[in-house]
Symmetry: C2
């Protein structure tokens, strides 16, 4: 084995083109000098992240089509908005990122069309929860197109002039893609490292891959869901940070464990916040878990208190055991972040009975005496 | 034993003047007809609540001195404010209720003086946390008097004209008392029922008192702190509601358990929110628990995001085990209610290591990648 001299060598504009675990080396391409060389390692950390999904369509490389997965791409879009001043933008994809982009463009006074192939935005929440967010967008003037998918582009002179969908064509000045991300795991795959779900790199709870000396973390790696005990693909900055910490501690000789995720996510459009945690509909189905659902139409604060806003909460519990499986919130200011209480309860493996008696903060400016989350748990408990 | 006929008999304007557990009866005074009679019971629920503490001072019964512990008293104050239009009010007591009253009066354009005998407001939080809230009040024009206690009143014609303190006199049009509450447990005490801390009625986790057939719940009863395992006096509507539910279920033949409280509370003054959960300073001392503290000066949202506000978090953990003992938050909009995450973690018995990897909701409109609560836990963990 080769031991690199102390200190940190940073290689900018270098691409790793090969990983050879048997030789403890990586092959690197210097993009500026256009030459290749190899580097030996004792331990190798793969933190290659994810790439935005881009459909293979004619015109996809037009200059006025933007991804928003990185600071570089975000800056590119921001500069284009300032320079081109588009009157209209089509956002493709109604997930968290798509919705955040819709909000930002809308606040700039741009006419926004949101294109969503599926029957609802936010596929990670139930349709009745997503519907509340959709209505908030429509009421604010967003042209939300459900069941309408991107099939092509009309373009000329390197610029898209219209988006073509299964329903027709939408003339536009600019297109933003929010179609999700794919893990960058080709390097690992080519080296024979075992992959996990959806092309993520398989790792154990110390962030070790299947190959000795090679570690992975962040969007390129799988994460264990503590509710299901199954690995999944969770491309979230918070999780990447935590996995990076665990890998770093272990690389440095400590013994750190990443306990896993519960699938928490949050977004908003203007005043309407939406959050979820726990297992998804498909996971519940594929695991064959029988469940009950408690749903409440509540408020963020008592109705008599200024600023009280609607807040819908759904809690899923396992039939029989009453163990919490999933929670969703949609509502006005202050609603969304309360998902953290549910997320913490999922980490603790709490049942509906545990939820009922949580000593949560109460004062009229903040909540009612019974939190909507707790009321939903009570309604779920009755069906267990 | 006597079994009352089915149905509900409601006695308004009746006071219970005696409880005789050996005879399974209560003695009742009809305040309107001014006569006494007795009622037999199979099961008796004591839900007598708490009374506001009123110091025994000359002039305390002046008509312009107000308590704010009930809807009746609150309405009386509200009507007086509308009728008398006081230019200045002295609020006595800098706890949660005092602060809420200060805010409400201040928003009505009234000059408010807050009198606090102790060296800080909010004795349930650390002085550095309370100081942030105090400064917010002072900056907004509240005359906050620390180390200044009520010693008497100047009054004439049944109305207070000035509050006398250990530091001098404060002329005022109106006085609001926010000096805390005392459990109404005399009836139980006189009947030989065992009392718990601070004059609360001792109950088990089914809300049974020491005497067969007599139950208690709410502000008149003790509640078990799940962090310390010790009973205490927690006069909170949320806890009263939960204890009432448990007592009601048990009275109705079910078997419900109240697991206890963690000591969560929240208040705010205008934009500044303050919350706490877990053991108090004195409890930590009396239990002889050695602890470490993680403190972070964070923000509610990333600094680049509009509406980002300061947010200080302190987390206490047991030395050695790392078990969370206490958390406190003070900060701008959105800071306070995050105490629920810490409260849920206390219910779960989480350690600092558990806190580090909580999968909490992240998106820039809501928080940074690392929650201040988690950063504070990390800083505490380093000292364990």
């Amino acid at each position: 084995m080769f031991r690199e001299k102390q200190g940190i060598n940073v290689h900018i504009s270098h691409r790793v083109v090969g990983l050879f675990p048997n030789e403890w080396t990586i092959q690197v391409h210097d993009l500026i000098k256009d030459k290749e060389f190899s580097i030996q390692y004792d331990e190798l950390m793969l933190a290659t992240g994810a790439r935005p999904f881009r459909p293979e369509l004619d015109g996809i490389d037009s200059e006025n089509i933007y991804d928003v997965n990185s600071v570089v791409n975000g800056t590119r879009l921001k500069e284009a908005l300032a320079k081109d001043r588009p009157a209209s933008v089509v956002v493709v994809g109604g997930g968290y990122i798509g919705i955040e982009v819709v909000e930002a463009l809308h606040l700039l006074g741009i006419k926004v069309t949101l294109l969503q192939r599926g029957k609802q935005i936010m596929s990670a929440v139930d349709s009745d929860i997503a519907e509340v967010l959709t209505q908030a967008m429509i009421e604010d003037g967003i042209d939300v197109r459900l069941n309408e998918g991107l099939v092509g582009f009309e373009y000329s002179g390197g610029r898209v002039t219209a988006v073509v969908t299964n329903m027709g064509r939408i003339p536009t000045d600019c297109v933003v893609l929010g179609l999700g991300v794919l893990p960058r795991s080709e390097l690992a795959q080519d080296a024979g490292i075992i992959l996990g779900p959806k092309g993520t790199i398989e790792v154990n709870n110390r962030q070790q891959t299947s190959v000795s000396g090679v570690w992975a973390g962040g969007d390129c790696a799988q994460a264990m869901n503590v509710v299901s005990g199954e690995p999944g693909f969770y491309a979230m900055g918070t999780i990447a940070n935590k996995q990076g910490r665990v890998a770093g501690l272990n690389l440095g000789g400590k013994d750190a464990i990443f306990p896993g995720v519960v699938g928490t996510a949050i977004t908003k459009f203007n005043q309407m916040e939406c959050a979820r945690t726990g297992l998804g509909e498909k996971e519940l189905e594929s695991l064959g878990i029988e469940y009950v659902v408690g749903k409440v139409d509540g408020v963020t604060k008592p109705r008599y208190y200024p600023g009280s806003a609607m807040m819908k909460v759904k809690v899923y519990a396992e039939r029989g055991s009453g163990k919490m499986l999933r929670a969703q919130i949609v509502g006005g200011p202050g609603a969304g972040k309360r998902i953290d209480t549910a997320a913490t309860a999922l980490h603790a493996g709490f049942s509906m009975d545990d939820m009922l008696y949580l000593d949560l903060a109460y004062a009229p400016p903040f909540s009612g005496v019974w939190e909507p989350l707790v009321i939903a748990a009570r309604l779920a408990e009755k069906q267990i």
